[in-house]
């Protein structure tokens, strides 16, 4: 792949539509002797909106860590933008929204301060932020509908608004791949609508790929290109219509999903 031949600081081109930006082949992982992932194959292409679903303990979080390079697989290969995760030098190309951000501290931080952190990887953390960085921050805030709350302390916002702030932080870096871990669990309807709009915007305008880990797919079901069902191994990988045809209407009864998975075994 072309990216492999480039120098470490070479600027990678914007991914062309359909180009695989995240690939896992035969990935297995175990904690001690407990297998968590077995022979997982997965691909996310540029411009693609993929959901990863599965019951609690199905290995979703572990798979995310392996894909993002914070855990190494026991066997198998992961490629992010064509190279192993540890060799991705432009980390700003990865936008990440963690499951439960640890920001519950007593020290107040404004929405803007949080989102501006998203520019650090892109700008170089030691460099001061310039005007264009602040414009990107504003743009990210606009895209999640938080521009009017920019100067409010995060801990005064609702759960859904906080989650949108963390999505804006990921947007601010201008990612080519957005990875979100359970971003809409317990989020209000208004935030879910905003959330859907900002994701489709990122895909349509920037050609980014999105990998969404979630129990709750109703908010985004119409937009999904593919759904991957994980329970230690990949049980299903295909368009949502096919999954629906196999007896599950996506997201309408999210509590049915684990039940249905039991049936699939």
């Amino acid at each position: 792949m072309a990216a492999l031949d480039q120098g470490p600081r070479a600027v990678s081109p914007v991914p062309s539509p359909g180009e695989a930006i995240l690939e896992a082949q035969g990935v297995s992982f175990s904690y001690g002797r407990e297998p968590v992932l077995e022979d997982v194959d997965l691909t996310v292409r540029a411009g693609e909106f993929v959901a990863l679903v599965g019951p609690n303990g199905s290995g979703k979080s572990t798979l995310l860590k392996v894909l993002l390079g914070t855990l190494s697989p026991s066997t198998g290969v992961v490629r992010l933008f064509g190279v192993p995760p540890a060799r991705v030098t432009e980390r700003a190309r990865i936008g990440y929204v963690p499951q439960r951000p640890v920001l519950d501290s007593e020290v107040p931080a404004t929405v803007e301060e949080i989102v501006a952190a998203g520019r650090l990887a892109r700008r170089g953390w030691w460099r001061p932020l310039r005007r264009e960085d602040h414009e990107e921050v504003r743009h990210a805030l606009l895209s999640v509908g938080l521009d009017e709350l920019a100067n409010r302390p995060l801990n005064e916002l609702s759960g859904g608004q906080q989650q949108r702030a963390f999505i804006a932080r990921a947007f601010a870096g201008g990612p080519d791949l957005l990875v979100l871990d359970e971003p809409i669990a317990g989020v209000d309807a208004e935030s879910q609508r905003r959330f859907r709009g900002s994701l489709t915007h990122l895909i349509a305008e920037h050609g980014a790929g999105v990998l969404l880990v979630s129990h709750e797919l109703s908010a985004v079901a119409p937009d999904l290109d593919r759904v991957i069902v994980l329970k230690r191994r990949v049980l299903f990988d295909g368009p949502p219509a096919e999954l629906a045809a196999s007896g599950v209407s996506l997201g309408i009864h999210p509590e049915d999903l684990p039940l249905w998975l039991e049936g699939l075994r």
């Binding site: 993002l68 390079g69 990440y96 501290s105 030691w126």
Partner: protein, 284 residues
């Protein structure tokens, strides 16, 4: 330095009070600056642990026959790096690692001081501080450490904020998490040593954290929290020194009590304001 400077009125008209004021202000303003990041990272007691270690460094300095402050600086920095190393590898829980460092530090300090023949009243000035006996060379060291803290903060403040707020995200974003945590540990150690002669190793963490407790109640952003905390820290030093001169009290303890009273005052004032704030929030 030509002390006293004539401009200052009572209680700062004398040279020793002015030296205490300069050294105290540097520490009072910069310790809470570091403290804001320490509180955000939820390691408020780390300054305490490193303070105890610095005490071992003083003992080591006495044995080695070098200036105790250098001994304290070396051991505090080494200890801070060790703590961070343990924390990052989860070799010991934060709590347990701190306890280990607390007690072995203070024990080693006393034992080493007795070996070095320094187990007398002068040791108390390190335990509880003695701002009014600060010498010109100590002021030079404290100001130097203060400049080092500010310079480092200017470069690292944004990435420090990102890492102490959300380490997992920072790691994925490719921010230098290990470096930043190490820098914070060293900054804590440096401010501990700078604060040692002012409030003493037993009260250092108080000066680092108490003004932040007040600051975060007053501020509505991280940046403003740093500013409020530094202002309250500096003010606590000025008021504390003045009060201690007026009533002949121990300056280190008085400064910390003033900082604690400031927190009580801010918290009470905020309590009165809370019902109003709640309505604002529910209106969202």
């Amino acid at each position: 330095m030509p002390w006293p400077i004539d401009l200052l009125p009572y209680p700062f008209e004398l040279g020793f009070m002015q030296r205490a004021l300069v050294a105290g202000l540097v520490v009072g303003i910069f310790a809470p600056m570091i403290g804001t990041f320490v509180v955000q990272k939820r390691i408020s007691l780390v300054g305490d642990g490193i303070g105890h270690l610095a005490f071992a460094g003083i003992g080591a300095g006495l044995v080695a026959g070098i200036w105790p402050i250098w001994g304290a600086l070396v051991v505090a920095v080494a200890g801070a790096l060790g703590l961070e190393w343990l924390r990052a590898r989860r070799a010991a829980s934060g709590d347990l690692a701190l306890a280990l460092f607390f007690y072995s530090g203070i024990a080693a300090g006393v034992v080493l001081a007795s070996v070095g023949g320094g187990l007398d009243a002068s040791l108390l000035t390190y335990l509880f501080g003695q701002a009014v006996t600060v010498s010109d060379s100590e002021i030079a060291v404290i100001v130097g450490l203060g400049v080092l803290i500010v310079a480092t903060m200017l470069v690292f403040r944004r990435v420090l904020f990102a890492v102490v707020s959300d380490e997992e995200w920072s790691r994925v974003a490719g921010l230098p998490v290990g470096l930043v945590n190490t820098v914070l540990a060293v900054l804590v150690a440096v401010s501990v040593v700078a604060a040692m002669r002012i409030v003493g190793v037993l009260l250092i963490a108080a000066l680092m954290v108490l003004p932040v407790a007040s600051g975060q109640l007053l501020a509505r952003s991280f940046r403003a929290t740093i500013r409020w905390s530094s202002a309250i820290g500096g003010l606590s030093v000025v008021v504390g020194l003045a009060v201690s001169r007026f009533w002949g009290l121990a300056p280190g303890g008085t400064i910390v009590l003033v900082a604690a009273l400031a927190f009580a005052g801010v918290a009470l004032a905020r309590r009165g304001a809370l019902p109003r704030l709640r309505t604002e929030r529910s209106g969202l």
